[in-house]
């Protein structure tokens, strides 16, 4: 009443004020007359001293307006406050109902926020370098000489190169040996990335020339005895000593001078790169591939397309100087330039996008579910709304109240969800596959918080809008109709049914995707790697400076180690190799077959294979079958005739049905002991064929393998040890360390890992995706069940009177059962029918992630449809069954 009065009061103000002013002037004039003015001029004088009456009026109006606005604003705010309080009271009144909604929302928001943080860190954040959009990856065959040629001739971009494979070196500081991840980089790499050392300097051109002394990373990787430390190496091994520059670090037994320390957030090329050495590159070295991966920075004003065109001209033109180019027609055709960010994220993109899409669908299911619950409750609240409308609450007021109620819940849930995500994120990151790039960029920041806030507000509005509109209709419609019982409009029943059906559809999509990924994962783990994983343990022994020692000392160390292990307890058998399956690194070689020439007739045929130096017990220990011929024996020593074994694939490829036993091959590698010192590459005789092995990964084809006896092998940088234990105890690590310490106490033993877990690591990414999607699908099915149940239960309670009437008029309980059961099954079937085409459409995007299963595998679709049908059956049965037990008499009295 008071407000109404105030609103009207404004209108009378003008007249009141005019009266007041007239009174004032009149009184003033009288005063002047008393002082002796004549009446005519007294009035003029009174008006003069009063000033402009119109101005006064205008000013008063302005004041009125201003106060009116403030009052309205504060009234609005206090209404909102009331609404929030009212909402809170509501929550207390129906704790179980709200608990379901809050739980649903918190889970949804926490899950989507933490996954968004992952996607944001890995995919969306720009590279942490200045003008990251100008950085590109130059795709070539990564020959050493390519970089030098490109650097001399390219005008559109400046290039830098680094050694592409993860590489570890043995470092001793204060007598403690440690293995650190190292990288070889050209002097211009830090300039191209735009990051300079925090302390000291980068490498200078001279330090990357051929002819350095120290050899931390084998032949390709000479150094001038200088090293740059990562910030964490500086912290862990030098205690952040500000005078670290100029100090000495023993790398592989060779003293290196520290010339620089990189800033803390610099992780290139790998997250754990701890040391950088100069990578020497020679223009003339166009032999070995995959030793110098290139990045580039576009020069000012040059576009990526221009750079690509230039690289695609320069690289193929190298065919004229590359000695073997004539044998490899494909060389240079795949040269390319692409954004560096894309190339770093690479294969992770698809997995993450699929997961993001999945979380989107899940959030949608959550919203639909909550909206449905709210709508159902909206029906139950009709009476309250009618009462409030009757008491004078306007349409806008009712709508706002419902919206405020829902937004309060949504934002509160958003806050709890973000906190939950914050708590879970660390765990989640640990659970992520370790080979995912850019994991270090994942954390909850303002962007992620903003995302969480917007999705919680969006859900709040989305799921609050339907009930709010309903409330506003209530306010108008039902008030007119009077309180003759609550009428449920059929359109609303339809909306809730449609929403429940939609939940089934989305559950179908998620479940199909999850099952496909799980089957693919199952197929992956069922792949036979070619050796027996059971009780097999791998380790690495890396005596300092091992790569630099001469070949006899390699063999001596290996023999001592094998002898020690043979006598150790718990060891059934043991073997040593330069590399073992699933090692990251480059173990390829070019070999030639005696008497085989290129189809063109020019020279000998060169073929690529993975070559391993293995000790005699290798095939026995790994349980790799020798199919034809013999395995190596202790007689295949350093001075015996040279022998090799090849894998079945190589035998098949080059000899077909004939036997390759007795054939000769040689390796195009000048580092091996040459014959007669005259520079002739020695020939090796094939003595056996070994069964296939998955060396690089499980998904691809088996690798073409060539095995060389360890005693005749030359490319040994550290020792890979494989041990078949005779039980499952873990004490094998200590046994190995004891054995190694007895031979060389300064040699670190690292990477001790059972082969079962090594195998697990190779499927870490698909496993992560499959498990996560499986969890989403389970939640979605569960929510769909809750949603459908909620709809049916409410439909039943709303139709109690109708059912009562039907029963009273002779309907059997079977009819009643059919009524509700039919409703439930109808929405289940419609949901599944809508879901399957959507699933067919969307699982196409999964096909690149699948292994051994088709994206459109009918068995998967039928299986999922059947499971959801069963869920629908269960959910429809319970309320329908309850409806048959309704007592008609009571139902008719029911209100």
């Amino acid at each position: 009443m008071w407000r109404r009065y105030l609103t009207f009061w404004g209108r009378d103000v003008d007249r009141d004020l005019r009266d007041e002013v007239e009174f004032h002037i009149d009184a003033r004039a009288r005063e002047l007359i008393d002082q002796g003015w004549d009446p005519a001029s007294a009035d003029d004088e009174a008006r003069r001293v009063f000033g402009d009456a119109h101005d006064v009026l205008v000013e008063c109006r302005r004041i009125n307006r201003q106060f009116e606005q403030e009052r309205r604003m504060s009234a609005y705010l206090s209404d909102i406050k009331d609404d929030v309080w009212f909402a809170c009271r509501q929550f207390r009144r129906q704790p179980r109902y709200w608990a379901v909604i809050v739980l649903t929302l918190v889970v949804g928001i926490a899950a989507s926020t933490s996954l968004f943080a992952v996607v944001d860190g890995v995919l969306l954040k720009p590279l942490p370098y200045p003008s990251p959009e100008r950085l590109v990856r130059v795709q070539t065959w990564n020959l050493r000489g390519e970089y030098v040629h490109l650097r001399e001739r390219a005008k559109t971009l400046s290039v830098a190169a680094y050694y592409p494979a993860p590489r570890e070196v043995t470092v001793s500081i204060g007598g403690e040996p440690a293995r650190l991840s190292a990288s070889g980089v050209t002097a211009d790499l830090f300039d191209v990335l735009g990051v300079q050392p925090a302390l000291g300097r980068g490498f200078i051109e001279q330090e990357t020339q051929e002819g350095g002394t120290g050899v931390p990373g084998g032949e390709y990787w000479r150094t001038y005895g200088v090293v740059i430390l990562s910030s964490s190496t500086w912290r862990d091994y030098f205690a952040r000593d500000p005078h670290v520059i100029g100090q000495t670090l023993i790398v592989e037994g060779v003293p290196h001078t520290v010339v620089g320390v990189m800033p803390p957030d610099f992780h290139f090329p790998l997250r754990d790169t701890a040391l950088w050495f100069p990578h020497n590159l020679t223009k003339g070295d166009l032999w070995g591939g995959n030793v110098a991966k290139m990045i580039g920075r576009l020069k000012d004003g040059r576009s990526q397309a221009e750079a690509r065109a230039e690289v695609q001209t320069i690289i193929p033109s190298l065919r004229s100087v590359i000695p073997w180019a004539q044998f490899v027609p494909a060389y240079g055709k795949d040269a390319n330039v692409e954004p560096l960010a894309e190339s770093i994220v690479g294969g992770a993109r698809r997995v993450l996008l699929v997961l993001l899409a999945a979380i989107g669908v899940l959030v949608l299911v959550l919203c639909v579910n909550v909206a449905n619950l709210m709508l159902a409750r909206g029906v139950a609240r009709d009476r309250e709304m009618i009462t409030r409308a009757a008491l004078g609450a306007g349409r806008g007021r009712l709508t706002r109240q419902v919206l405020v109620e829902n937004l309060t819940v949504a934002i509160a849930c958003g806050a709890i969800g973000v906190l939950t995500a914050l708590a879970c994120l660390k765990t989640l990151v640990r659970f992520l596959p370790a080979d995912l790039p850019r994991l270090e960029l994942i954390h909850l920041d303002a962007r992620v918080a903003l995302f969480a806030l917007s999705i919680s507000t969006a859900t709040g509005v989305a799921f609050g809008l339907l009930p709010a509109l309903r409330a506003s209709r209530m306010g108008r419609g039902l008030l007119m109709r009077g309180a003759g019982g609550v009428v449920v409009e059929s359109s609303e029943r339809r909306i809730t049914s449609v929403l429940a059906a939609l939940e089934f559809s989305m559950a179908v999509v998620l479940a199909v995707s999850a099952v496909l990924l799980l089957r693919s994962l199952w197929n992956l783990t069922a792949v036979d790697p070619g050796f027996t994983v059971d009780r097999l343990v791998a380790a690495r022994v890396s005596p300092p400076g091992f790569a630099k020692r001469d070949i006899p000392s390699h063999h001596l160390f290996a023999q001592q180690l094998l002898d020690g292990l043979a006598a150790a307890p718990g060891v059934q058998s043991a073997a040593i190799a330069n590399a073992i399956p699933f090692d990251a690194g480059l173990f390829g070689t070019l070999f030639q077959i005696e008497g085989r020439s290129e189809p063109t007739g020019k020279g000998l045929l060169s073929a690529n294979a993975t070559y391993l130096g293995v000790s005699t017990g290798y095939f026995n220990t790994m349980d790799i079958r020798v199919l034809v011929g013999r395995a190596f024996t202790s007689l295949d020593g350093v001075n015996s005739p040279r022998v090799v074994m090849v894998s079945r694939r190589i035998a098949k490829q080059f000899w077909g049905d004939e036997s390759p036993i007795g054939a000769h091959i040689r390796f195009r590698d000048e580092r091996q002991p040459l014959v007669d010192g005259a520079g002739t590459l020695p020939w090796f005789t094939i003595v056996g064929i070994a069964d296939e092995v998955h060396f690089a990964d499980l998904t691809g084809e088996t690798s073409p393998m060539v095995y060389v006896p360890l005693d005749q092998f030359w490319d040994l940088e550290s020792l890979r040890v494989v041990i078949r234990t005779d039980d499952q105890t873990t004490s094998i690590a200590r046994t190995l360390q004891t054995v190694v310490a007895r031979i060389d106490p300064s040699a670190p033993v690292s990477d001790i890992q059972s082969y079962a877990s090594r195998l697990g690591d190779t499927v870490a990414r698909p496993r992560f995706a499959a498990y996560l999607l499986g969890a989403f699908a389970t939640i979605a099915i569960f929510l769909a069940a809750i949603g459908a149940y909620g709809v049916l239960a409410h439909a039943m309670s709303r139709r109690v009177r109708e059912i009562g009437v039907r029963l009273a008029f002779g309907a059997s309980s079977r009819d009643v059962f059919g009524l509700l059961f039919g409703h439930g099954m109808r929405l289940t079937l419609i949901g599944i029918a809508i879901g399957i085409p959507i699933a067919i459409g969307s699982t196409r995007f999964l096909s690149a992630l699948l292994f051994g299963v088709e994206a459109a595998d009918p068995a998967v679709f039928i299986g999922v449809a059947l499971v959801l049908l069963l869920v629908g059956l269960g959910v429809s049965y319970v309320p329908a069954r309850r409806a048959t037990r309704i007592d008609p008499m009571e139902a008719l009295r029911y209100e």
Binding site: D16, D19, E20, V21, F23, A27, G51, D52, V56, E59
Partner: protein, 119 residues
């Protein structure tokens, strides 16, 4: 010729009005009359300026108004101080006397500061 009369600040006008009304209910003209006589017409005040100020104070809830009959039987709007207005007046008076006291001390100072004597 120099005009000795002072122009008045908006904030000060509020205090003057509240103070006038502290004697009891008054109409606008009464307020203006009282101020003129107490100050011996020291202020140049367009008398109309009083009314927006009264208006504002009323909306702030410091005074209320009611139509009544004046001494010479004319209809006039009478203003009266509310409790909030009385409290506001007390507050303004403390502020004012502290301000005025401080200014008076400065302008009526007779001794040159000690640290200037050295010159």
């Amino acid at each position: 010729m120099h005009d000795d009369r002072l122009s008045i600040l908006k904030g000060a006008l509020d205090v003057l009005i509240l103070k006038s009304l502290s004697w009891g209910p008054m109409h606008g003209y009464g307020v203006s009359y009282w101020i003129r006589h107490v100050t011996e017409e020291a202020f140049t005040l367009q008398e109309g300026v009083l009314y927006p100020a009264l208006h504002r104070l009323e909306r702030k809830g410091w005074i209320t108004s009611e139509w009544g009959v004046s001494e010479n039987n004319r209809r006039a709007k009478y203003y009266e101080l509310t409790d909030a207005g009385r409290a506001q007046l007390r507050h303004e008076l403390t502020v004012w006397s502290r301000f005025a006291g401080a200014v008076t001390k400065v302008v009526s100072a007779t001794r040159k500061p000690a640290w200037l004597l050295r010159r």
